[in-house]
Symmetry: C2
Subunit: 271 residues, 2 copies
């Protein structure tokens, strides 16, 4: 099935808009985790088990695994394999390179590790993104307007008529012939979410920034959803996985995930 | 020593502008390489040994190693360690994420693997690049105008007065307080090289695109060098490492590297 159709079907089936981000920093996990044979895998699996009921997608941030070298890469691979097939597995890799290099990233993330989707940086243009788009079952979340302060430096480049991030959205909508293109749009910029939903009425959005980064729930959900009341998932990383610094970290993560799911659904169903 | 000073000192000492790119694709190496215990490491070391006399820098493209999973990551680490300290080791990683994620990439590439420099994508703006810039000894090559066809899609966004890639160059020049900012500029766009050299008179350029991608030597070298006749390195990957598909691949790579070094120096010294 085409990725974007599958994403929306899973949103409906699981009645959730929640994406859980596995940005595992072992300096922030409970100390006993470090005694485990594979601390990243142990912690990640515990978080997945505790939150699975509430999530529609998991986002694995490659930075946090690469920081631990080859064992970190192996841990990422194991966690990707551990995730069941009825949730979406996103590699938050922010890759993008000239064609023959991007094809190697396709091999790493879609073939070696069987992720369902990847985040891609658009700066190098179409031929850098195109290798990721070939398989309609694999989703490509293209960075459009990010959640950080520095988003303004280049993404807002342009004039009143058209900014760079709007140009990215328009191009991505053109590239969406396989119905597997999506956008990354930060919750911390609700006006831009609304503007992007107008420019790309049906592209799914991955929206970080509601948790630790402090974005506004009501505005983000209201502006991001499509007319079909789907097409957006909201990522929480630190606020869920470090909900408790103690031995009850998994239970606390589960509780927080449930609350986030419910809070998102509340703003989803309100007119 | 500040990275940019060190780079120019090494250029002078080794009398070379040559960067060798280790984009190792095992489907293109001689068949006997696959029988080795660690084929990526074996091939990479042989290329390094054969080309070291002629090179000023090595660029390891992470895509090609990630395609082989955790063993690929381990091979990248081993090759980075194998490179001697009198050449520049560049991780061609094209990373860039919000601050706390970029800090993890710093850990992976500068602390875990001890690369001297990294390539970074500027799309997320200053706070995504800033973590890489903290250590003045580590260089940050920021993608500005890339060598591929798709470069035009977004990098040329803007009007007659200012294009995005020019805005990137101007910002990067401002960020260069630690004298460790550099730009990636494709050889396939010589007019843009000239324009960028005007906008950033002293920032070092990493220039891919002269080998398999077909850029023009004379124009690229002439336009890229600073007034001090340094400040630019030129990368060759496929044209050197696959110079011969047979058992003599290393000798052939050495010959090709010597020729590229001489050809670059020829255009360097001509007025």
């Amino acid at each position: 099935m085409e990725f974007n159709r599958r994403l929306n079907e899973i949103i409906r089936k699981r009645n959730s808009l929640l994406c859980v981000g596995l940005d595992i920093d072992l300096s922030r996990t409970p100390p006993f985790v470090l005694d485990k044979k594979e601390p990243l895998v142990y912690f990640g699996k515990a978080i997945i088990d505790a939150t699975l009921e509430f999530a529609v997608a998991y986002k694995i941030n490659t930075a946090f695994f690469e920081a631990y070298g080859a064992p970190g890469w192996e841990a990422m691979h194991k966690l990707a394999n551990y995730l069941p097939s009825d949730v979406i597995k996103i590699a938050d890799a922010k890759r993008g390179d000239i064609g023959n290099s991007s094809r190697m990233y396709v091999r790493a993330f879609f073939e070696q590790m069987n992720f369902d989707a990847i985040t891609v940086n658009p700066y190098l243009g179409y031929d850098s993104v195109q290798p990721f788009l070939q398989d309609a079952q694999k989703g490509v979340f293209i960075l459009c307007h990010t959640s950080n302060h520095g988003a303004a430096d280049f993404q807002k480049f342009g004039d009143e008529k058209l900014k760079l991030f709007e140009s990215v959205a328009l191009k991505v909508a053109e590239w969406n012939v396989n119905n597997n293109c999506c956008l990354v749009v930060g919750a911390t910029y609700p006006l831009e979410i609304a503007q992007l939903r107008k420019l790309a009425p049906s592209l799914p959005f991955l929206i970080p920034g509601l948790g630790t980064q402090g974005g506004d729930f009501a505005l983000a959900v209201k502006h991001a959803l499509t007319r079909q009341n789907d097409g957006a998932i909201f990522n929480f990383s630190r606020s869920i996985i470090y909900a408790s610094p103690a031995d009850d970290f998994a239970d606390a993560a589960g509780l927080e995930a449930r609350q986030m799911k419910e809070q998102l659904n509340q703003f989803r169903t309100q007119p």
